[in-house]
């Protein structure tokens, strides 16, 4: 197996960064369960998915999470944090 290019859309950027994903997008302030937007917001969903797929073409740094902001999303949420003590 020679590997499959992947891009992660994460709403828990700090948790995901621990695993050092090859490519990852964090849509800032999206809550857990809203990877590409809220229900029915198809235009926003398309935008986020295009941006995520676009990372396949960009010179990103493997293991880092790219943060983008989407004003159309509305109210933002604080992402889950990694517990202290490690």
């Amino acid at each position: 197996m020679k590997g499959i290019p992947t891009v992660l859309i994460t709403v828990s950027p700090e948790v995901s960064a621990q695993m050092r994903p090859p490519r990852a997008l964090y849509p800032k302030g999206f809550k857990v369960g809203n990877s590409v937007g809220r229900p029915g917001m198809r235009e926003l969903q398309r935008t986020v998915l295009r941006d995520a797929l676009g990372l396949l073409l960009e010179n990103t740094r493997p293991g880092e999470v790219v943060t983008r902001e989407y004003r159309d999303y509305g109210e933002q949420y604080a992402p889950p944090r990694v517990r202290d003590g490690k």
């Binding site: 499959i4 290019p5 369960g33 809220r38 229900p39 797929l53």
Partner: protein, 141 residues
């Protein structure tokens, strides 16, 4: 924060998106209504996964997962499993197509080693064999 010491499994992408087929793999507990639900009663987590076909009617998808609020996905599965969104991107020519296999699993486990050494490579094999995916979008927490 402790970073994984494993090397980053980076696979270069050397194609055009407009000619590429995309698969979705989600940790959000997504499966077809007529598939066996994930076993949320097992406190160690469910290591199994479900194959989702490319022609799926998104209204036939559901979520079984008890570690996050999936009310939004219940209303519109695309927030987590954007298969209709992928179809839109195919229609507009942004991507080449939707892969032949997608995968849902329940991204919660106390059995990390079994997930990493068993489930994950099994899912990768499913995508590798017969999905015709040129790249994979991963969603989850």
């Amino acid at each position: 924060m402790t970073l994984s010491r494993k090397c980053v499994p980076f696979t270069p992408f050397e194609r055009e998106l407009a000619k590429s087929t995309i698969a979705i793999v989600t940790a959000g507990g997504v499966h077809l209504r007529n598939q066996e639900p994930f076993n949320i009663a097992d406190e160690l987590g469910d290591l199994s996964f479900r194959i989702i076909p490319p022609d799926v009617d998104s209204s036939q998808l559901m979520v079984t997962h008890h570690h996050y609020d999936h009310a939004d996905a219940d209303e519109d599965i695309n927030v987590l499993f954007p298969v209709d969104v992928l179809r839109d991107l195919e229609a507009e020519g942004f991507i080449g197509g939707v892969a032949r296999k997608h995968v849902g699993y329940m991204g919660y486990t106390m059995q990390l080693k079994a997930m990493y050494e068993g489930t994950a490579p099994e899912i990768a094999n499913e995508i590798d064999r017969g999905s015709r995916a040129d790249a994979v979008v991963l969603t989850g927490g």
